[in-house]
């Protein structure tokens, strides 16, 4: 059962993401409201996909990403970052830091779902080239 981690400081957005991904039949969800909680979740068990908001208090999403990518076990986990309109700088930095894909808020649920599906399928299939 693949575990999907949703990281965003807005509880409303976390709910929306979860709802968008509900059609993924066998997925399990975990949520985190900030970077430290996200890292804790990852530490507690394997995660198949991370939806990561960038602009969070305390620890910026990019820093979370950098931490992940630095460490052996998590360097391959697919990460979709959520960026805000007008904040292209963060988006670029995130991609450079190792984000797999980005989505700009407000996003359409189908788009997020499609991304998630394809990323999960890839992982199941094997390491990305």
């Amino acid at each position: 059962m693949p575990k999907i981690l949703i990281v965003d400081d807005s509880a409303t957005i976390r709910k929306m993401v979860r709802s968008s991904l509900r059609p993924l039949a066998d997925a399990e969800f975990a949520e985190a409201g900030n970077g430290l909680e996200a890292i804790e979740q990852i530490a507690l068990g394997p995660v198949a996909l991370i939806i990561l908001d960038l602009n969070m208090p305390d620890m910026h999403g990019v820093d979370v990403l950098k931490f992940l990518r630095r460490h052996q076990g998590w360097s391959d986990v697919p990460v979709v970052v959520l960026t805000t309109r007008g904040d292209e700088a963060s988006r670029d930095t995130a991609m450079e830091a190792g984000a797999t894909e980005y989505l700009t808020k407000p996003f359409a649920p189908q788009v997020l779902l499609a991304s998630a599906r394809s990323l999960l399928a890839d992982t199941a299939a094997g390491p990305r080239v």
Binding site: S19, L36, E37, A43, M59, D63, V64
Partner: protein, 672 residues
């Protein structure tokens, strides 16, 4: 209630509104703090950062629900905050006004979406911000920017000893509820977190390292150790290292000093120390506890019958247990009631804005002092008290406080003061709105009352008489078009709202010196589920928890056994008591009786009524006076028409029936 406009996330509107409320609350608080920074060389950086974050979040979630106006306005406000943070603009009075006005329009836009009404246009607010930014750019071009000194609350507390606190998450700790978030909150309560860094240890485990400035005692250290938090003192030579994705100290939520006159409160309780709880869950909890209480009473009855058969030493032991359970139940019940309590500050928080706006409109100078915001009151009451308190505060500004000139002429300070305070006194909450204005003019009140055709007692009136006149129907505020007094809501509505909640309103006033309105409300409200039944034309309520079952029984099918009526029930027979006969009411002529069964086993009893009309949630009002305190009646309620409906205590009735079947409750003949 929310309208679906095809947005895929329209189901989340309730969450959206709730989250907006949180953010807007933060915005209001921070704007007031920021206002005091205008013209000073230091700006509260952390307030700026937090404010920026709020607008940023509001922008984000508004975009998701496609509330474009809110998104755009939040974006504008965010722009100004960004400029301030990046020192491209300085904080001016004009800028603060733009932020206040913008925040208010934003709130109205969101509120309009919630209520389905027409939202105001955001154009004015957006233009206002743009002007401020343009002026700021011009200023910047004209003069060399001066470096503003950083002022965070951090510097104040940096003198405390530093600790390195580490914590490694694990499944065991999670099972006990210990997670990095709760750990961080505990550390923040104990002191100030200067830094927070995630690390990976040599064996590949994740560890969180916090740099904490705090004074820690052995007890705290031990408690933390038990939950996996290891704290070691840091030497002066050690510095938190750079890189590795560390958290920025300025980004951590700062506890801003509260704006009221309560020095002890500043930076007291962290807002993140609380959880948001759905009120319906609390209501359910209360019901469960209510059931527990009733079960306990039943147990007591059953045990009572065994007393004769048990050796007295054992009986005493049982009694002790019973008493202990009683005590614990009471504590539990009170505890749950207290969970419904919410700080009165929720009502108070928007008052500074109201006063500020109204003072500006009426050209008066008014200062609002808030006291006792942490005083707690039932959530049910909070919502109903908002308007009355608002009305009193508005009144104080528009009718109480004089203009600056008048005040100076009277030898007072030109600025008037309104004190809004809350405090508990036993099981009452007292909310006071006091001003140092002109006081209530008794002659004017009498004149207005006479003009309105209201009966006026002779002679000099005391404050309570004045209040009665002010609240009498027909005594509306002088100037109907005086919207400053609250859209024509008279004092009568305030009094009615207060009294409906079993509270009271009183007035003290001294002409020339000031006025004080005092609201007293009970701290908690007893609410329970009840079955509503009619008997002989009267209506009664029966607490649901006492009822095991409800059934319909044919009157002709009742068996007479000696003096009792019985009905077949679960293979045996159930004694039936007609509630009407107990109360001296006429017997039902209906063929089918409705019966609710109370008690179990051999103690089961069926209480027959004419009809069980339905089930309602009722607010229990105490019957205080001895004249009407009667066995078998546990209280009274209002089903909505203003008439008293008595609440039965079936267990007592049942016991009464068993013990003294001959005695009928006497009827009192009241004429209708």
């Amino acid at each position: 209630m929310t309208v679906d406009n095809g947005n895929p996330f329209s189901d989340f509107l309730d969450d959206y509104f709730a989250e907006c409320d949180d953010h807007l609350m933060g915005v209001r608080r921070l704007l007031l703090t920021l206002e005091s920074s205008v013209g000073r060389s230091e700006i509260n950086r952390s307030a700026l950062d937090e404010l920026f974050r709020h607008f940023h979040s509001l922008k984000g979630i508004s975009g998701m629900v496609e509330l474009r106006a809110a998104e755009d306005l939040a974006h504008s406000l965010e722009d100004y905050l960004r400029a301030l943070r990046q020192r491209e603009a300085t904080l001016t009075a004009q800028g603060v006004d733009a932020l206040f006005d913008g925040a208010q329009i934003l709130e109205q836009v969101i509120g309009a979406r919630r209520d389905g009404t027409q939202p105001p246009s955001i154009d004015g607010a957006v233009a206002q911000i743009r002007r401020v930014l343009i002026d700021a750019a011009a200023d910047r071009a004209a003069a060399a920017p001066s470096a503003d000194t950083l002022s965070t609350a951090a510097t104040a507390r940096a003198t405390q000893p530093r600790w390195r606190c580490t914590f490694s998450p694990s499944a065991d700790l999670v099972a006990r509820g210990v997670r990095v978030d709760s750990v961080r909150k505990r550390l923040a309560t104990a002191g100030e977190i200067l830094n927070a860094v995630p690390r990976v240890t040599r064996d590949g485990a994740v560890m969180f390292e916090f740099e904490l400035a705090a004074a820690l005692d052995e007890a705290t250290l031990a408690a933390w150790r038990a939950d996996g938090i290891i704290a070691e003192p840091m030497g002066d030579a050690e510095m938190s290292d750079a890189g590795n994705g560390r958290a920025t100290p300025a980004g951590l939520p700062e506890l801003l000093p509260s704006i009221d006159a309560e020095p002890g409160q500043a930076g007291g309780v962290s807002p993140s120390h609380f959880v948001r709880v759905d009120l319906t869950r609390l209501d359910e909890l209360m019901r469960n506890v209510g059931d527990l209480v009733i079960s306990r009473a039943r147990l007591s009855e059953t045990l009572g019958r065994l007393e004769r058969r048990i050796p007295s030493a054992e009986w005493r032991a049982i009694q002790e247990n019973a008493v202990a359970i009683d005590r614990q139940l009471r504590t539990l019940r009170e505890g749950i009631m207290r969970v419904r309590l919410v700080p009165v500050g929720e009502i108070f928080r928007r008052m500074p804005f109201v006063v500020r706006d109204l003072a500006r409109e009426t050209g008066k100078r008014v200062r609002l002092e808030l006291q006792g915001q942490s005083t707690e009151i039932d959530k049910f009451l909070i919502e109903r008290m908002m308007d009355p308190v608002l009305h009193l505060v508005r009144n104080a500004v528009s009718h109480g406080i004089e203009t600056a000139e008048e005040r100076i002429a009277a030898g007072k300070r030109p600025e008037g003061t309104i004190v809004l305070s809350a405090a508990t006194a036993g099981d009452l909450v007292r909310i006071e709105v006091a001003d140092d204005g002109r006081g209530v003019d008794a002659d004017a009140v009498v004149a207005r009352a006479t003009e309105a055709g209201l009966p006026v007692p002779q002679g000099t009136l005391d404050a309570s008489h004045l209040l009665s006149l002010l609240c009498a129907p027909g005594f509306s505020t002088r100037d109907e078009s005086d919207r400053a007094s609250g859209r024509g809501v008279g004092m009568g509505v305030v009094q009615a709202a207060v009294e409906e909640l079993s509270g009271s309103l009183s007035l003290e006033t001294t002409p020339g010196a000031g006025t004080r309105f005092t609201l007293e409300l009970p701290v908690t409200l007893a609410i329970t589920d009840a079955l509503i039944a009619t008997v002989g034309g009267e209506t009664f309520a029966v607490p649901q928890g006492a009822v095991r079952e409800v059934m319909e029984v044919p009157a002709s099918g009742l068996l007479q056994v000696e003096r009792n009526e019985m009905t077949p029930y679960r293979g045996g027979a159930l004694p039936i008591v007609r509630l009407g006969r107990l109360f001296g009411l006429p017997d039902s002529t209906r063929e089918r009786l409705h019966v609710f069964v109370v008690g179990t086993g051999a103690a089961a009893l069926g209480i027959a009524v004419d009809r069980i009309v339905g089930q309602r949630e009722i607010v229990v009002r105490a019957i205080a006076d001895a004249l009407v305190r009667v066995e078998g009646i546990s209280g009274a309620t209002d089903l909505g028409d203003g008439n008293v409906v008595l609440i039965l205590d079936p267990a007592v009735l049942a016991r009464h029936m068993r013990e003294r079947p001959d005695r009928v409750f006497a009827a009192t003949g009241a004429s209708r």
